[in-house]
């Protein structure tokens, strides 16, 4: 489904990703871990199509198509969803209107009829119930004045409504209370299906206890430094990232001069 090959990305000429290789098949759940500043969010942003990142080398294919050639909205229509590490506040944009516009935009491009107000409300109510949320947040401007946990739950609600084929969750578990974490994990698990995939960026084993990944990767200094099964995360919980070589040139990749 997703195939990243030797991806190099710079921001303001500063190298952030230095040759990422990652393959995610339909039906799989991957976890990406790694130290602060190692490039995890950068990778997620590049996949979602945010500008300001220069892709120097490498390629990303989604269902065999060149993902990097698509606009952010085209990626959303193709089924990519990024749950933001820092969800953006949209003053004046009502939550209901936002979610309905997003859903109908995505449906229109998938050749599905638009939802009217009644159908939309019915769907949202179902999802709210599954996520044990009430609709108060949706009556407010998107993310404005939301607590950290509320913002994360709002991302999960959007994901549940939009039903993406590839969900990228950037630290969606950070800042959630214990009950909310369980609800969010249930939300992710309910999305799991043979034709969907999930990539979770996380710092904590506790999420991986609830959403068990097929593969765990450690991103360090802009590269996948190590990959393994779910045991890798447990091992890291014991030993930290100390045992992982986080220098840029570690695996023989050329050291970009600007990095020195």
């Amino acid at each position: 489904m997703l195939e990243i090959r030797d991806l190099h990305v710079t921001v303001n000429e500063k190298p952030i990703l230095n040759g990422i290789d990652l393959k995610v098949r339909a039906g799989e759940v991957h976890a990406i871990m790694g130290p602060n500043g190692s490039g995890k969010s950068t990778l997620a942003h590049v996949l979602a199509g945010r500008d300001g990142y220069a892709v120097g080398k490498g390629s990303v294919e989604f269902d065999g198509r060149d993902l990097l050639a698509l606009s952010p909205e085209e990626r959303a229509w193709e089924g990519i969803f990024l749950a933001f590490q820092y969800p953006v506040e949209l003053p004046g944009v009502g939550g209901m209107n936002f979610l309905k516009s997003a859903l109908n935009a995505v449906r229109a491009h998938r050749g599905q009829p638009e939802f009217d107000a009644v159908e939309f409300l019915r769907l949202v109510r179902t999802k709210l119930k599954q996520l044990k949320m009430d609709d108060a947040l949706l009556k407010r401007a998107v993310n404005v004045g939301f607590s950290g946990g509320e913002k994360k739950r709002n991302e999960v609600l959007q994901m549940a409504v939009l039903e993406p084929r590839l969900a990228l969750l950037d630290e969606t578990d950070s800042g959630l209370d214990i009950d909310a974490l369980r609800v969010v994990a249930d939300g992710i698990n309910s999305l799991r299906s043979p034709d969907r995939a999930v990539v979770m960026i996380t710092h904590y084993q506790r999420l991986l206890d609830l959403v068990v990944p097929d593969q765990v990767h450690v991103l360090a200094a802009g590269r996948i430094a190590q990959s393994g099964g779910k045991e890798l995360a447990l091992a890291l919980e014991e030993s930290g990232y100390g045992g992982i070589d986080t220098t840029v040139g570690a695996a023989g990749a050329p050291t970009p001069s600007a990095a020195i």
Partner: protein, 440 residues
């Protein structure tokens, strides 16, 4: 040598003055004479005048505007209906003339008088005399002076009790075979303790080049409360100059919301005199421009008495090569202690070629005052746009949603719902890109 551009209007006045309404009453005739003399003396302002530094009237001055013909244009109920509020009492003016058959006044309460200035100038001048030409100051205002000379239509609304339903004044301009000027003169009078909502709507049928020269005088007596809204959605080739002068007595509350997105060149000028303890005004507005539109908002709040409050918030959205102007002047007179005055202007420039001039001016002659002002110019928030697009909104929709949200902060304060929807609907139509090309 070419004639002064003013000559056209001086001649027009000389030719028509005998036929202008109210001429048989000396105070009306004198007021008109005073107006034309002032217009003659002042002439049209140029950018050398401080108050007109950012708004150049040259394209207006270069156009020869005549008087509207008296033949009744064939505006039908169907043309008018889309612009009317469902729950309002409506006065409909076509090219400055009241059209009772298009208006909706049957259920108007007994404590409201809503009529045509042209008619009252003939039949009940005593009702007008204490107010007309007394709230608005002729100093330095050539368009107002000309309006005073040539005024021949507009609304008079006098409110005595509590009026729940909005009173709408719809000004329709029809396409003519030559440029035409309409000198609208409105008078809004709120009796002590009364309350009302008045909405002005300026639209055109058929577009074309015309000049709406509107002067509105508002007199709010003690403890009255008036909400005054205005939608300026004129033809894209039109000129719209409006001066609203407001006199607030002690304890009076005045709220103004103005949306402007029509006309090639427009100025919405509001002057408020707070003359008593506990007077309060809130001025809000939104201007939206594209193409080569020029939209000027100029305010002057004059705190003349201790213990009065003013609050202003204007937002501009400028696309293409549009030019916005905000000039906000606050005067606190000597002795006007405990004045509370705030002013804010925020603007979105959607292109590098759009332009905004924002100029606050505080003139404070008292020491116990709270005054603040702020201005900001920026582009749409890139993070917000990306967030919306990442959720599947195309770029155009994402931008529109963010612009709508930006202006909705101010539209949201408009009540009742029918009036708020009037504004949000008109803004949405403009932002969708096919309004103000007029005609529909």
């Amino acid at each position: 040598m070419t004639a002064r551009p003013e000559a056209l209007y001086l001649d027009d006045y000389a030719n028509r003055k005998a036929a202008l309404p109210g001429g048989k009453f000396s105070w009306v005739a004198n007021l008109r004479e005073e107006g034309i003399a002032r217009f003659d003396a002042l002439g049209f302002a140029t950018p050398k005048h401080e108050e007109w530094k950012y708004t150049n009237l040259k394209p207006l001055v270069r156009t020869d505007f005549g008087a509207a013909s008296s033949t009744v244009s064939d505006i039908t109920q169907d043309c008018v209906a889309p612009h009317l509020l469902a729950d309002a009492h409506c006065l409909v003016f076509v090219d400055g003339h009241l059209r009772p058959n298009l208006s909706r006044l049957v259920q108007i309460p007994a404590d409201v008088r809503a009529s045509d200035l042209a008619k009252l100038l003939e039949t009940e001048p005593d009702l007008l005399e204490p107010h007309l030409g007394r709230v608005a100051q002729l100093d330095g205002q050539a368009p107002l002076a000309l309006n005073t000379a040539l005024m021949n239509g507009g609304a008079v609304v006098a409110v005595h009790g509590q009026v729940a339903e909005p009173i709408q004044l719809l000004f329709f301009t029809t396409a003519q075979d030559r440029p035409v000027a309409t000198h609208l003169r409105n008078l809004l009078i709120a009796a002590p303790g009364s309350s009302a909502t008045v909405l002005e709507t300026h639209v055109s049928a058929g577009g074309g080049i015309y000049w709406t020269n509107a002067a509105t005088e508002v007199s709010c007596a003690a403890n009255s409360s008036l909400s005054h809204f205005k939608l300026q959605a004129e033809s894209v080739d039109a000129f719209h100059l409006a001066l609203t002068s407001i006199h607030l007595s002690a304890g009076a509350r005045y709220q103004n919301f103005a949306m402007s997105h029509g006309a090639r060149l427009s100025r919405n000028e509001i002057r408020v005199a707070l003359t008593g303890e506990d007077g309060e005004c809130q001025l809000n507005g939104v201007f939206l421009g594209r193409g080569r539109q020029h939209l000027d908002t100029t305010t002057m709040i004059d705190h003349q008495h201790a213990g009065s409050r003013s609050d202003q918030f204007y937002k501009g959205v400028l696309d293409d090569g549009a030019h916005g102007v905000f000039q906000g002047k606050i005067i606190v007179r000597p002795g006007a202690q405990r004045t509370n005055a705030h002013q804010l202007n925020k603007n979105l420039l959607l292109t590098p070629t759009a332009q905004m001039d924002s100029k606050p001016e505080l003139e404070i002659h008292a020491d116990d005052v709270k005054c603040g002002h702020g201005a900001a110019v920026g582009d749409l928030d890139a993070e917000g746009l990306f967030y919306l697009r990442a959720r599947g909104l195309d770029e155009t929709s994402a931008r529109q949603m963010m612009i709508a949200a930006f202006i909705d902060e101010l539209i949201a304060n408009v009540t009742p719902d029918s009036a708020r929807n009037h504004f949000s609907g008109s803004a949405a139509e403009f932002l969708d890109g096919d309004s103000s090309v007029a005609g529909q």
